[in-house]
Assembly symmetry: C2
Homo-oligomer: 169 residues x 2
Amino acid sequence: MALGKDYADQDCGIARTLEIIGERWTALIVRDCLYGVTRFSDLQVHLDISKAVLADRLESLVANGVLEKLTGEGHPEYVLTRAGRDLWPLINAMAQWGNRHGTGGTRTPTRAFRHADCGSLIDINGFCTACKIIPEVTEIISTPERASRRTDPVTQRLREPRRLLDPLR
Amino acid sequence: MALGKDYADQDCGIARTLEIIGERWTALIVRDCLYGVTRFSDLQVHLDISKAVLADRLESLVANGVLEKLTGEGHPEYVLTRAGRDLWPLINAMAQWGNRHGTGGTRTPTRAFRHADCGSLIDINGFCTACKIIPEVTEIISTPERASRRTDPVTQRLREPRRLLDPLR
């Protein structure tokens, strides 16, 4: 692309966030990690992108302290660091805004975010209007709201209600 | 760039948001509009990007219902629509995450977001911990916290405490 990925003279938190998650597909990788996806092959099948692009984005997220790559027996796993988990309010705001105002108009999302304690939907600020609190990311359940047109195995497993960050293995 | 700007098969609010504000510079244009910048020339001097890129991004934001272009006497003005103002939680989360975790480590931001009623900083969820509420975007004051290295006239005017969306003319 003609423009670099840094915003050197902007001196602004938003620009610094975009330097780390502003590249194409990167925010969707973080979304999948919040859903508990940990493996390269699962990320690839769910995002349906090339291995080269995925490998590049994962390397960058690890280098920037958003993901940790765990290597032991079996497949390496990518898990969100504390900084990565702190992206939850941003990812939630993106999801909620897109469902309300995104291309194609208002529609029921395939999955919604609910407070585990009460089952209520959380809002664009991550606020549970029933309990009047902002639950931690680990207190959020992703629930299926309508059928997805995708049929890959990861999408199928995400059709169950699942707590965020609960590893999908 | 090799990849298009849509995420056709993702069927997800996050992807639909990225289709509208995921292009390079677009989120920073929305940020400036929240700060009250309304004119093409002011956006250009503050973002320091080419007129062609700025014109392209503005046209896209108008087409996608985020900005309205007001033409009357004098310069046209770009103002956020209701959908555009609803991007505030996302822009706030981006700013706060970047200041805490962005490239270069934790540092005092040049500007902070405070609740107009009490002067307290709001958090990454847009929550005022003093008042225990989530203020509306028009109840947020942008305050200077440290000197910016930028010297353009728009940056200089934004050094004053200013209410978000208060037009900068």
